[in-house]
Symmetry: C2
Subunit: 205 residues, 2 copies
Amino acid sequence: MEEILIAGKPVEAFLEEIRKFHGWVAPGVLLGGFMVDYALELVGKEVEADAIVETRFCLPDAVQLLTPCTFGNGWMKVLDWDKFALSLYDKKTREGFRVRLDVDKTTAFPDLYNWFMKLVEKKDLPLEVLNQTILEAGREALSADPVFITNYYAKIKKGKTGICPSCGEAYTLRQGALCISCQGEGYYQPNENPADPFLRRAVSY
Amino acid sequence: MEEILIAGKPVEAFLEEIRKFHGWVAPGVLLGGFMVDYALELVGKEVEADAIVETRFCLPDAVQLLTPCTFGNGWMKVLDWDKFALSLYDKKTREGFRVRLDVDKTTAFPDLYNWFMKLVEKKDLPLEVLNQTILEAGREALSADPVFITNYYAKIKKGKTGICPSCGEAYTLRQGALCISCQGEGYYQPNENPADPFLRRAVSY
């Protein structure tokens, strides 16, 4: 069998990177590797490409591992659409390619089709079997189309910073007169007496 | 000067990781490293911690570099609140710590204060000077509080998958009768005749 390369690196090295970064070799990240590899080739190495990913699940990590685009540097944007597709495009010309897992083509790989359409329970499709299918399928279950990006391409700017008069913390003034937390949308409450003994020690530092 | 460790690794190694992953040594990621390091210590190594980050800028990459939490594995959630703060918490007990850059404490480090409050232009504060200040400040400009997480802690579930009758692509049925793209919220249009000569070759594969 020919050696499989993902974005120029042996697939074993990529599998190890997935394990280290993502915590386990999730099929979505492995498959995403083939998608990013394909998009990179189509867009060309000389292009400084930004990424738009159409699902929050798994695929963003393939982009972060194989391209310079990360969530925190803003070159990768994530749309919470639950579509297994991504676009890489030239940030200057907004031309690029969209690559997707093509449901019609997955029918040639029943395990992949059943996983993608959520027709099989995890316990009935061992991870190793599914990942082996993904390795065999490679690009054969993918489709790619040339696209021109019409939305979500702009760099997201930080707003002006102020001090929230309620909590005294810095926040972006575009949130309003108070920060979002103080508007009642917060996600935490004080916890001065944790149940966990280790945390109790940490609190009394 | 004592050797600085970030989550157990020499700061030089962390700087190199930032450069490789984020593309450049952004002050927000370096500062974020100290924040994650502090939160990890407070929460304790034995805890499997999830992360909530309160800004999309830079800080998510510090979390992804120093913890098992990534955007794609769902253990890190990002709130687009533009607050420079994050929480690490035990996913079972929902107890943890919130660490933030404390604006009052930054006044002891004028360059850090001016950068954080956006009172200085990039050209007037060289990156090396700002990063040196961040290294000197370490945890001195941070505050940490014990918290109990009340929101955003649940694992985000994938929806049921169907085929969009308009584009024929797989999508999550909770989006409605058509996928979001076909509802008119798309971000691309076909580009069969790219202006870029390399892309034209790629299209005619």
